[in-house]
């Protein structure tokens, strides 16, 4: 059974249809890159999979481990193993990062019928993960993402990914706003999480990110559909020729 199956998905935001019958199959252990020009629906796809409420699914389905994902609330999806690394992680003043991480981790564990982490176990786990990602302790003491640089926000997303151990990671424009050093740190963090039990969907506008996170499959999206799929060579081809050919084709 595939980990994720998106079948003929149609999605509206307000009165505009953004996805017009998108299909995508992702198996365990695979890394898929979704590329495409601005406005092609890449971010919409990632938000619909995570369960953002402002989107209306008018057709098609999304199966996750064979279950109907669209029937689940966003928190149920998270507990089942869906993780979206946000393009623009929000700042939450007044909510300490540690408190947030702990509440989220324990909420997911509780939903899965697992025992909650004790304080010492939790602290140790966070410290280990933070250390491996080069996240300073000071960052964990502040409000969630408050005053973080672009790179710090992305590292905080990857820290959560490492902590929650999801089976599907969707990385939405992880490279936006990052300089080359920050990008390398973030990509190293992601690569460390690659595993035969976990799949990743990397959404990006630029080929650059894929030099660091090398995908097994590349899909090109245009105007709300996947218009071409291939291996990592497709990304290089796109870098050379641009998206225009697909915009015409779509």
């Amino acid at each position: 059974m595939p980990l994720l199956e998106v079948k003929n998905l149609q999605v509206r935001v307000e009165d505009r249809e953004i996805l017009h019958g998108l299909s995508l199959t992702v198996n365990k252990g695979e890394v898929h890159a979704i590329m495409g020009p601005n406005g092609s629906g890449k971010s919409t796809l990632s938000h619909v999979i995570a369960g953002r409420p402002d989107y209306e699914v008018t057709g098609g389905q999304i199966l996750f481990k064979g279950e109907d994902l669209l029937e689940m609330a966003p928190d149920e999806r998270a507990a089942k193993g869906v993780f979206l690394a946000f393009q623009y992680p929000v700042e939450i003043p007044g909510v300490a990062t540690m408190n947030f991480l702990r509440t989220a981790l324990n909420a997911q564990r509780k939903a899965r019928g697992e025992s909650e982490f004790s304080t010492p176990d939790f602290l140790k786990k966070v410290r280990d993960v933070a250390k491996s990602l080069n996240v300073p302790q000071d960052m964990l003491k502040r409000g969630v993402n408050v005053g973080f640089s672009g790179g710090e926000k992305k590292r905080n997303e990857i820290l959560q990914m490492a902590l929650f151990e999801p089976s599907l990671c969707i990385l939405d424009e992880m490279d936006s706003g990052l300089d080359i050093d920050a990008l390398r740190i973030a990509a190293d963090g992601v690569n460390a999480l690659r595993s035969p039990d976990r799949a990743m969907v990397v959404i990006t506008h630029y080929q650059r990110l894929l030099n660091y996170i090398v995908p097994d499959f590349v899909h090109v999206m245009s105007k709300g559909r996947v218009v071409k799929s291939g291996d990592k060579e497709l990304a290089l081809e796109l870098e050379a020729s641009g998206y225009t050919q697909f915009e015409d084709a779509a």
Partner: protein, 441 residues
Amino acid sequence: MNVALAKTETGRPLSDSFAVARDRLPGAGKIADIRQRAFEAYERAGLPHRRIEDWKYTDLRALMREVLPLAPLPDAAGLSRAGAALKLHAIKGVRRLVLVDGVFAPKLSDTGGTEKGLTIRSLSKVLEAGNNPLQAELFAADDSNPMVALNSAMATDGLVIEVADGTRLTQPLHIVHVASGGTPAAMFTRSLLRLGRDTGATLIESHIGAESAKAYQAYNCLIVSIGDNARLDHVRLIEDGRDAFNISSAAVTLGAHAHLNAFGMTTGANVSRYQITITFAGEGSRVETNGVNLINGRQHADTTLFADHAVPNCSSREVFRAVVDDRAHSVFQGRIVVRPGAQKTDAKMMTRALLLSDDAEADNKPELEIFADDVTCGHGATTGALDKSLLFYLRARGLSEKEAQALLIQAFVGEAIESIANDDLRELAISAAQRWLEARG
């Protein structure tokens, strides 16, 4: 026409009640005269209504309709119900002083072993002790406010607490107002806290009701004087029963280089109003008065504050947060007056309301009246809903809708709670907020 009618309806049974209660009310001679005049002042005004500017958002005629008759003295069963309620609201390490149905209950209170420099008496003792300079202070409150006047007329008991010059109390004082849950009735209390020079004290006030206490009415009036170089840490927790009415007033006067750090949280009562007047009488003093309303159902909670900068070089800060769910209604009115000559006044007020439902209502009314030219004053008010993008982020991380809301609500009220200087008091406020969030489900 309607007003006259309403006044007759509300005024008449009460004046009977006053006539009946008179013999029970402590204080003869001058005190009785003061009470008589205060009652007449109240009768002329009647229950405040929306056409009086100060009561525009809290129309007691519509919300409360009438003042109930005075509560009888609590009997043994009442005291035992009050005792059970006290257990649920016990705070460790404090000196507890309990008023049941408006009457001091020594058996439920910690009366022994008072620290040196601390004197605690009941109001009735002080009023019956004949001429006492404290009596003037006790009745110095502004009877032009009808609800203060009513309290002056009807106060049955209360606490008179004096802290002698140079005394810094180590043990917090905890005044608990309990409604014992007999027939719905009104209880009127008046207390005085007098801090001498170079003193320090912590006062916690709780308003609670026994489990069986329903639509009772609690009317309290607190008079505080903070001497030169003295400091008061004050926390008020309104956790009255959901059918109860709580109309309370406070008048605080600060000497020179004095400090008041005050915080109020309202989670209980059907209708509540807290009107506090702060008067700066000496230079170099500062005040923080912050508050949080956490209300739902059809609750109505009003905080009306008046900071009177009568002298130069003082500062005041008000941070107020309201979280309003269902059809509840929160009111914050804050007026800062800077008198002529009160230069170098530094006054800031910020009030924010969070509406959790379409039917929730919050009225924020900050006012500044500045009659001096070298001051720093400011105010701000906002009202809004929980940020959807924050909620989605938290839910995408596994938090349920209620959990995500709870985390954001805690953060929202946190800013006001963080301002509580004393660690133990801050914890107290945090746990009161948590109780509310948990009860929300």
